[in-house]
Amino acid sequence: MAETAIALPPPLVPLPLIEGSQDDGTLNKTLNAYVWQPPQRGWLALFLIGLAGTGVLFSGITITVAKGIGMWGNNIPVGWAFGIINFVWWIGIGHAGTLISAILLLFQQKWRTSINRFAEAMTLFAVMQAGLFPILHTGRPWFAVYWLFPYPSTNSIWPQFKRPLMWDVFAVSTYFITSLLFWYLGLIPDLASLRDSSSSKRARIAYGIFALGWRGSARHWHHYKIAYLLLAGLATPLVLSVHTIVSWDFALSILPGWHTTIFPPYFVAGAVFSGFAMVMTLMIPARRYMKLKHVITARHLESMAKVMLLTGLIVFYGYLMEHFAAWYSGNVYEEHVFFSTRPRGPYAWAYFTQMFCNVVVPQMFWTRWARRNIWTLWIGSVLVNVGMWFERFNIVVTSLHQDFIPSNWAMYYPTWVDFSLLFGTICFFGTLFLVFLKFIPAVATSEVKELNHELHEGAGMSELEGARP
């Protein structure tokens, strides 16, 4: 038996999760090193670009609030456009974090350890971007800010609980709070470690406050582990619920192209798809410049590529089913959307961009070469993000611009404010991310150390097992 095991062809041998021989000391040093270094020039340059882009975002917001939604390209019939597309896109991106943190934790996938911090931070920042849009896209955001919440007002008007966007408010805010707690809880041992290794008093006080008095005692670890597992359990249903509810924003309408029962699973799969793509997009340069290749190895990237391939196939199935259901229903309005408007209408280029990026591109991850090549991974992940944006464009704009009564059909053209908001949120997101990289270990040091121990123990065990007669 042992001989057969040795004779296994190399592809089935998993790549290492941690490269080289590491111990707590080297891990501590390499993983936290970036925090103590003075800002590098590249970081500064990116940070300034990010800040400038954030300025563009806030200019866009200001002009929207000051002048009105008319500054966007929206019209009647296309009542929703970039605002909602961006919202769904960012929420989708925000899905990878919880999935990696919670679901993979529950499934005991060891490869999550090096990337969960990264993914969770990305989730938080993405949800922050997403959170801007539901308020901003309303005609009167100064009322929408609080009228969407149920509170006992003097004129006893409550929000409309039948409406999915109402549920969105709860779903997204719950998701944000849970993700924040989960992320912060995971951070505590690392913050304590930073506090202990800090050389300046200021840093010690600052990290000390956030470390909440963590001393690493067995009692602390015991409570910590329970809390972490509980939060993981709490966050798991949220992975499914948030994007399900976002999909209901569309699915509960009567509009052809929106009114589809396949939306919840298809949206969740799409969200995970785009979330992993965004993690990949950010992680590939970060691991290089932050010298984290030994803990974020090709194994991690390959696993993520596999998840992308899987979720990409689910999304593709969703596309096929939408078209099949439209044909099978015999409903002229459905048929018009899926067989005329999308593939042959004026926005056909968006449809084919979506199909190419989301369906064709991930197929390359069937090959090991593409899964292990940094460039194919990175370009593939960027294209998936583009494709997922266009998927939402097709759902929102293409469905709306030609619906039931042909007389009201009209084209939608985005304005510079629309683009500034999309570009601005990307910059704002990037800025927050850079700040995160600078001040907090991008890799969960304590968890990697733990994994390192586990792996060595595991290696020992397998050696023992192998030695067993």
């Binding site: 009105g68 009228w147 009567i254 002229v332 009209a410």
Partner: protein, 982 residues
């Protein structure tokens, strides 16, 4: 405190108590007007000089007590004004000399809504878009506010002084060199003033001018009868109507009663179904409603008519002498087949036959139509004496006048006609001729192209602020009474003319009353009140006559028409504009933003051409082209117009304006005057088209013209009515559902729209705008599909022939679904259902997520993308209906079924402890509709008209399969095609 420097030291005669009083402007007087131009801003107080039924008018400054000029409300009202309750006054709008009786609503002394006078023969309760838009024209902040002399602000009394001097000199020369260029007028008072002026100045001459004259109608009658007549249409007796370029079903001056009569003939419930043939160049509203339509190049229309007369010669003994015309005017096969079928049908219809000819056609065609109608004994066309003083008001007269002006024979010219410098054909060069007149007076609402060249410009009083009279299209004497004291220091036409009689101090009211007292002295005081309250004198229509037809003259004139085709070249076709008429309404945003009923283009005119011609010329929609006809080119934008004749380009009047004072319409579209010539003002061959290689973005409210095979605007024929009814049974009523239905025990409001009656004239859209304070958003916003009209009129092309498609129109506003998709998607409960079934919109609660619009399958909701009303001036704000909220930015809005009218009726009837009766609540669109296509009422009332229509076999629900249960039902359009032409 004024500085002491400004005080004259010597020659002081005036008594003053303070320096302020001394320096203040002298108080204005009603007779002489303010000495100095008043400020731009008109305060609410200054216009709230309530006229109403109360006796005394507020005095203007204590200098002179204004004369007591009582206006009288239409229906008897309590003697005092109750704030919040509107009053209605009968008055009239006069366009090209013909009056349409109106009923104007006044709220606290300001006119807010124009509706038709139900008793007036030219209105019968209906009203067209132009008449309704008079309201906004009245409140237009760009109106001329002060008298101008040589470009400088002046005063009415300066004008009077100058005119008095001038008049003295003119009297000595017996009026030589004095010319009046007037708006075509039917006003008896103006007629009287003209007589008196002619007596005072025997050598003075009067002429009339309008860009859209009826002169060829009169010339045609001259040819046929030997005297000027015009035709009174009576479509109530019509069975087969042939329109030769006659747009009798568009809500234009004089057509409103025809539309109502025709609608009755197109309702299958009324028995005998009439048939309409249209022969025309561009698709018109009438053409959209025709059962058969032949599209011809403009110069072929009258040849077709003469060929038809030739064919009838073979069928009708009385027309036998015209038989040779059939050979003289050979028709291509398609036209020949059409003519044969029409000829047979007309003969079969006998007294129900009518051939109607449009005013643009040459006199010989009018004469031919008289011959046909007379020979068939048509009961639909009666000849009657023209109501206008001048039967000739076209380029011919203007040419003579311009000739005199150029020859230096005109020394004083008084223009009360609308803007001849802009409207005259370019080859007349009227503007230059006007500059040569030493003393010219122009009375105008705006500083327009003519005002630019006149030495005196007098601000015109709008009909809503002045007294007057006019005749209706049938001659009925109609009164114009002011709803409000003048906003600006203007003068009426009567005052301007009276200035030359030395009667500048007599008000138009005095003139009018004195004139009518002299005309009808019996029981005058009582009658006067009745006339003003009613708005007209009943029984004063000019009686129809039966003059003898002069067949020989008609035949010889017809034989003189060249039979030959004028060649294959392009022809220009100039038409009046549905929105701005000849351009006088160009500064009214309600009309600029009203989509053209046919092309759905807003805010400009365009070069319309057939798809085939466009292909041939290599032009696409939106291409910029230069159109030329014996003169400088006009820069136009191409619109591909299915249904247009090949090898012709249509352009409408009224655009390309350059007046200094009309900022709203300046430089929109293009001016057609260079394409019009004195000899051929309407159509002509020899047009050249040159693409300039640029493109323009049009603001079209409908860009997709096919129904995509969906059941949207249902259409059927008389024969298939039964089958269609059975098919439509699947598209009405409740869908199978597990939910318990909602009960509506009280009122159950609903609407029915009869597509068979609707002509697409779009009058309802203007009524809706006026009633519901709907903001106009401008060309750019319309191009972005952000127009705010709650009610739109969709126009679809049907059939396979893109060259000459069938057309169906469909008014569409919120259908008030019982299961409304908009309601459950609103997160803040801003759109909810009432217990009477109205889908209500609570503006205050709306945060503007726009999901309701996304989920509305009819897309009838409108969103305030910007604050569209924030730039309204105080004057414009006076046009607002106080019963309807003005919406803020970021708020969704839509049709409410005129809920404010329902509530008003509810208040009235609750006091009387009874239910609201059928017909007591009319929605604004229903009230304006000339053809009665829109009916609103209580579906729980078994006798309500709307209930009966909901039970008709033609009824269907739009997008029925969605299960929205709309409260607005549609009735399928029914056409009556001739089997011979099928």
């Amino acid at each position: 405190m004024p500085s002491l420097k400004s005080l004259p030291i010597a020659g002081q005669q005036k008594l003053w108590r303070s320096l302020d009083e001394h320096a203040a402007a002298p108080p204005p007087s009603r007779e002489l007007g303010p000495a100095a131009p008043p400020g731009d801003a008109t305060s609410r107080r200054s216009v709230l000089q309530l006229l109403g039924a109360s006796a005394a008018l507020a005095s203007f400054g204590g200098c002179l007590k204004p004369p007591d000029e009582k206006i009288l409300p239409y229906t008897r009202q309590p003697p005092e004004v109750t704030p919040g309750n509107p009053l209605h006054y009968a008055t009239a709008a006069v366009i090209d000399g013909r009056a349409t009786g109106l009923l104007v609503t006044a709220n606290e002394g300001r006119p807010t809504k124009i509706e038709g006078n139900p008793d007036h023969p030219s209105s019968r309760g209906a009203v067209g878009p132009l008449e309704q838009a008079e309201l906004l024209r009245f409140y237009d902040p760009q109106r001329l506010k002060v008298v101008q002399h040589l470009g400088q602000p002046s005063a009415w009394r300066d004008f009077l002084r100058a005119t008095a001097n001038k008049a003295r000199a003119l009297r000595d020369t017996r009026g030589a060199g004095l010319r009046f260029l007037m708006e075509p007028s039917s006003s008896p008072l103006v007629g009287e003033l003209r007589r008196r002026l002619a007596a005072a100045y025997p050598q003075a001459k009067f002429s009339s001018w309008t860009a859209i004259p009826l002169q060829q109608i009169h010339d045609g009658a001259q040819l046929a009868y030997g005297a000027a007549y015009e035709i009174r249409l009576d479509l109530s007796r019509a069975r087969v109507v042939l329109s030769l370029d006659s747009d009798l079903l568009a809500a234009m001056p004089g057509t409103l009663p025809a539309m109502r009569d025709w609608a009755e003939k197109r309702d299958p419930a009324n028995g005998k179904f009439a048939r309409l043939y249209a022969v025309e160049t561009n698709l018109t509203v009438t053409g959209m409603n025709a059962d058969h339509r032949l599209r011809l190049k403009p110069t072929h229309v009258h040849r077709f008519g003469l060929a038809l007369l030739g064919r009838l010669g073979a069928l009708v003994p009385a027309l036998a002498r015209y038989a040779p015309l059939q050979q003289r005017f050979p028709l291509p096969p398609e036209s020949a087949k059409f003519a044969d079928a029409v000829a047979k049908d007309l003969v079969a219809a006998g007294r129900g036959a009518l051939v109607s000819v449009g005013p643009r056609q040459p006199p010989v065609l009018h004469a031919a139509a008289h011959a046909i109608n007379a020979a068939l004994g048509s009961a639909c066309a009666a000849a009657a004496r023209p109501v206008l003083h001048d039967t000739d008001a076209g380029p011919r007269t203007l040419d003579q006048l311009a000739e005199e002006m150029r020859g230096g024979k005109v020394d004083t010219l008084v223009i009360t006609a609308w803007n001849p410098v802009y409207g005259a054909p370019a080859d007349l060069n009227f503007g230059k001729a006007l500059s040569q007149v030493q003393y010219s007076v122009y009375r105008s609402l705006y500083l327009d192209e003519t005002a630019d060249r006149a030495s005196w410009v007098i601000p015109a009083l709008h009909p809503l602020e002045s007294w007057g009279d006019a005749r209706a299209h049938d001659g009925t004497i109609t009164f114009i009474q002011p709803l409000i004291s003048p906003l600006y220091a203007g003068a009426s036409e009567v005052e301007t003319l009276a200035a030359f009689l030395g009667e500048g101090d007599r008000t138009p009211y005095t003139q009018l009353r004195a004139f009518w007292q002299s005309q009808r002295p019996d029981d005058f005081a009582f009658n006067w009140e009745k006339w003003l309250a009613d708005g007209f004198i009943a029984g004063t229509a000019t009686p129809p006559e039966t003059p003898a037809i002069r067949h020989d003259q008609i035949l010889s004139a017809a034989m003189k028409v060249a039979p030959a085709d004028t060649g294959a070249g392009l022809e220009i076709n100039i038409v009046p504009d549905y929105r701005v008429w000849d351009g006088r309404f160009a500064n009214v945003s309600w009309l600029q933003e009203l989509p053209d009923p046919v092309t759905k283009v807003t805010w400009e005119n365009a070069a319309l051409l057939a798809p085939g011609t466009a292909r041939k010329l290599g032009l696409r929609q939106g291409d910029r082209v230069d159109l030329g006809l014996r003169g400088p080119p006009a820069h136009a934008t191409v619109v591909i117009a299915p249904g247009h004749a090949e090898d012709a380009i249509t352009a409408s009047l009224g655009y390309g304006r350059r007046g200094a004072g009309e900022a709203l319409c300046r430089d929109l579209g293009f001016d057609t005057s260079t394409l019009r010539h004195t000899d051929v003002p309407w159509f002509s061959p020899g047009l050249t088209v040159a693409p300039v290689g640029k493109r323009a973005r049009l603001a079209q409210t409908q860009e997709h013209h096919s129904m995509e095979g969906r059941l949207i605007a249902a259409t059927t024929t008389v024969e298939k009515l039964k089958e269609t009814g059975e098919e439509l049974a699947e598209s009405r009523g409740a869908l199978l559902t597990a939910y318990p239905g909602q009960n509506y025990p009280g009122y159950r409001w609903g609407m029915a729209i009869d597509l068979s009656r609707c002509t697409g004239c779009s009058s309802c859209m203007v009524a809706c705008v006026a009633e519901n304070n709907i903001p106009m958003v401008g060309k750019e916003q319309v191009a972005l599909s952000r127009e705010m009209h709650w009610l739109r009129v969709d126009r679809y092309f049907i059939g396979d022939d893109t060259g000459n498609p069938g057309v169906v129109v469909q008014p569409l506003m919120c259908v008030h679904c019982e299961y409304a998709p908009c309601e459950y998607v609103c997160p803040v409960n801003a759109t909810v259902h009432s217990d009477e079934g109205l889908n209500e919109m609570i503006y205050n609660r709306c945060v503007g997520t726009r999901y309701c619009s996304n989920n509305c399958p009819y897309k009838v909701r409108r969103f305030n993308f910007f604050s569209y009303t924030s730039d309204y001036t105080n004057t414009e704000k006076m046009a607002f209906n106080p019963d309807v909220t003005v919406r803020a930015r970021g708020v969704m809005e839509k049709c409410t079924y005129c809920v404010q009218r329902i509530e008003r009726a509810r208040i009235d009837t609750r006091l009387q402890e009874r239910r609201i009766r059928d017909g007591e609540v009319l929605t604004a669109c229903q009230q304006a509709c000339p053809s009665g296509a829109i009916v609103f009422g209580d579906l729980n009332d078994p006798n309500a008209k709307v209930r009966r229509l909901h039970d008709e076999e033609r009824r269907y629900d739009l997008l029925h399969e969605l299960g929205t249960r709309p409260r607005t039902a549609y009735l399928a359009r029914v056409t009556n095609p001739n089997p011979e032409l099928a």
